[in-house]
Amino acid sequence: MTAVEDRPGDVIQDSPSGGAAGRELGRARRRKEDGRLITGRTKWTDNIVLPGMLHLAMVRSPYAHARITSIDTSAAQGAPNVVAVLTGRDLDDEQGGLPNAWPVTPDQKAPRHPALAVDEVTFAGEAVAVVAARTAAAARDAAELVDVEYEELPVVLDLEEAVTDGAPLAHPSLGTNVSAHWVFDSAEAGTGDDVEQAIARAREDGIVIERRFRQQRLIPAFMEPRSTVVDPTGEQLTMWSATQIPHILRVMLAMVTGIPESKIRVIAPDVGGGFGGKLQVTPEEVTTLLVARRLRKPCKLTETRTESMMVAHHGRDQVQRLTLAATKDGRVTGLKVDLLADMGAYLGLVTSGVPILGAFMFNAIYKFPAYRFECTNVFTNKAWTDAYRGAGRPEATFAIERMMDELAAELGEDPLAVRERNWIRHEEFPFTTVAGLEYDSGNYEAATSRAVELFDYEGLRREQAERRERHDPVQLGIGVSTFTEMCGLAPSRVLGSLSYGAGGWEAASIRMLPTGKVEVVTGSSAHGQGHETAWSQIVAERLGVPFEDVEVLHGDTQVAHKGMDTYGSRSLAVGGIAVVQAADKVVEKARTVAAHLLEADPADIEFTDGRLSVAGTDKGMTLQEIALAVFAAHNMPDGVEPSIDADAVYDPDNFSFPHGTHLCATEVDTETGAVRIRRYVCVDDVGEVVNPLIVEGQVHGGLAQGIAQALYEEAIHDDQGTLTTATFVDYLLPSAVDLPHFVTDRTTTPSSTNPLGVKGVGEAGTIASTPAVVNAVLDAVRHLGVEDIQMPMTPQRVWRAIQEAVPVAQEESR
């Protein structure tokens, strides 16, 4: 356990490699990939330059909803260095429609999604034409010369308005703004009771809390804008793309364009972040491919930051209506969730499934008997939404953790006590939830008591009381978030039962090179997570080879031919297990060869510290020596192939369920509404840890992103549907100075569903922190009569909420 205490400048030292087995897992290694990633001396897609390569620039609609009446490309065609200008109509025979892989209901409605719009644009920024030129500057200049005439159509932007009668239609041809309606009901599913009855009972003799929460629209804001290069020359077409999903992309490109999959190679070189934002098959990728194929020249399309913010898919954007029923002594008896989820203008790869992923998480760590989740997926004239760090689970966690604080406030009790009364006790695992998931393990008590200790919960509560007492202009609040999430996406059969279009397995191969080096090929395509280091540690441990001898290859469908890529905190809990299985197969194959070479029975061969030896003797060979012997293949056992390389594909039996307790103290300046995070403590339980430094990094980044949703980030559109937060001047991201020093620690309750006991940590911080911060701000001003403040809790919103509130005491004295 590495507790990074409140000691600035405290750096975890990299421990030197011993090379010996058994000491790699759990070692805080610095990431081997960081040198090239931090300095940028690597192959980002935009760094790729090919002979004769053309540069593309998109012509984009300034209107959120309009009919395209004409496009005049002549001026652009005639501009210097321009090779071609192509419109949606020009490419329409080839462009098909971009895929949605998650038809959540059989009758889900979805408009065709052309890469370049043909007749109608349905969000501001949608591409209508593309310019190919010999320089990037010429392409950009010429794009401004394309003269598009539009006839504006009525726009629908607001979710709640979109489902009212007579609202303008985002896609008039669909005849409705509703894409799908999806329901989970514990009584119907047989996983629990009827929620309406629970609510009716609570109305008579208990507590009913009803709230409406808004999950604002967020922009994933990955560091590297998206970029695609397509080389159509040669037998196969090669696409380099800044994507999280080279494998899925390849399959989808084949389906969309009709090019045989075997003729497409997709490479995700180093990718600068994604957060779900690059889990997509994009109009830009398809357009680049079509133009390159048409012009028979390599083409590159790199978006600007503003384009990225306008058109790369957005995240969240839901209205949540919640009804929580509880007994008078604060035991939750039921939860009803009624969601409106903004799809935006189209259904991207998993747009429609994102809110559904949340359906299984609203009950969180609590055991209550009745639950109903209802979600309406709605079209509006905005960029489409899709996966963004947490995808469905932050929304669910926010809702339930806010409701638990509301329940505590209603009861006048400590929010931790109310949670403890309702959570699944350690001895109750494995536990089947009201949403039908089986939680294999968890220890909410341990994580919570450690967090309380690190936080000085009692001390801060005292200070809070004192500040209230003396009417201090700066009030203190404490927010709690005891979260869990489902990681390790996902058992393929579960995905099938949810109508998702693909499986959830992952592949790995291990190649034992004759010089003793080891190549690990993973289907999990890293884009900043540190797979190269973590996978090397796993293999070094498992095979007893030096960490430095392990090379991890990923992201190229010709090298890693099989994969499901990286999202949903799945890499370690699924891809890492495939690596373990491949390594174990290598050892088994080597055992056969070793027995033959050492003239022993395979059953007598022991494998320790990278050496296969005959039990009870000093006869033995290292795995690396066997690799060389197999390469020469001069002396192989009869009928045994000369290879100890191995492949494995792992399909998990269950999700994994990391959890943790996050405690946040905020100071609220009641004179200005400014919020400052005074202390943030999180104790996460992510199971066994391969590399504590990587875990720490994921937690820190996740916290920053979750805190940013609570306080800073919001994609805002004007009445016409133009995104007004399309630069970082207006879309606020916090930097290090805006964030507190995080105090982190861990408890370790291993997952019982995989051989490493790991769970996943990629999204934990994001999921847990948003409600912790919001609860803390509200806790600081609740006594002034403030019940809720919409996210992001800007100073203006906080100040105004205080102005408009009726102080609790005053209200009571009336």
Binding site: D141, Y712, T725, L732, T794, Q796
Partner: protein
């Protein structure tokens, strides 16, 4: 994004620079001066401006640095924010300017962005306008054929992103009177550290034994130009440096303001903030 194509000149003297500007203007060519580029380059890259000629001042000697000139200090237009905030003369005689400059953006921007560029850019949310106004800075401007003129900060800023600078003129240096021994505070209110001010209040206060003798107050982003809170300055004279007295004296701080409204703050909220921040700035500047 990529800016539109432009010609580029890189003069080495003020005369050459002004001549390049004059030449372009006489041919009706759209010309822009490039200082630190921290505001101009974003504007060019977003294609909000498309000059035909860019005159880069980075090689012009003598536009950079701070010197003592008797009752004033003189800051070259090309002195970077980082140099201004660290300069001993600025810290000794115009602490308000040093403190304000520390709040501008982040270290990278402060190493490139310049004092002159900030004033010439005249962004109402820019932080350095308010102290320049409050301290009665004088801006020295060079024009064609060796012409120079000096304009008070009060007359220099005329509107949003607009000053009295002509297209063929160059801001050369800024004379800031000395306020040696005055206390100072800049209260910058923003949502994240490297964001622009929602409201900022610059206050320099001369106090003696707990009584305010003189005060100078400038407001950032409370109108299309920086605003001098003269009524408050007068009300503060002779007041004890106590929370109560200052609270009363700053009541009129929004007189003469016309605050903008945006996603961060509407006009009412800005007016409210101006009051709170002015009180805090004065209290801090008075050492209370």
């Amino acid at each position: 994004m990529i800016p539109t194509a432009f010609e580029y000149a890189s003069p080495t003297t003020v005369e050459e620079a002004v001549a390049a500007l004059a030449e372009a203007v006489s041919h009706h060519r759209d010309v822009k001066v490039l200082a630190g580029g921290q505001s101009l380059l974003p504007v060019l890259r977003l294609r909000l401006a498309a000059p035909e000629l860019v005159v880069d001042l980075s090689r012009v000697e003598g536009l950079r640095g701070v010197r003592d000139d008797g009752d004033a200090i003189v800051i070259g237009a090309m002195t970077t924010h980082d140099e201004v905030m660290r300069d001993p003369l600025v810290n000794e005689h115009d602490l308000l300017l040093a403190l304000t400059t520390r709040t501008v953006a982040d270290p990278q921007v402060r190493h490139r962005g310049t004092f002159g560029g900030s004033l010439a850019h005249a962004d109402p949310a820019g932080d350095l306008l308010a102290p320049a106004l409050a301290l009665d800075a004088q801006l020295v401007i060079a024009g064609p054929s060796g012409r120079t003129r000096t304009v008070a900060a009060h007359d220099f800023f005329t509107d949003l992103f607009t000053t009295t600078l002509d297209e063929d003129e160059l801001l050369v240096e800024v004379r800031v009177p000395k306020y040696t021994g005055w206390g100072a505070s800049y209260q910058k209110f923003n949502r994240v550290a490297q964001a622009w001010s929602i409201v900022g209040v610059a206050a320099a206060v001369k106090s003696d034994g707990g009584t305010i003798g003189e005060a100078r107050i400038g407001l950032t982003n409370m109108a299309s130009t920086p605003v001098r809170a003269r009524a408050v300055e007068q009300a503060l004279v002779g007041q004890p440096a106590t929370d109560e007295a200052i609270r009363a004296a700053v009541a009129d701080v929004t007189a003469g303001t016309q605050p903008p409204a945006d996603a961060n703050a509407d006009a009412d909220y800005r007016r409210h903030l101006a009051g709170v921040l002015t009180r805090r700035a004065v209290l801090a500047a008075a050492g209370a």
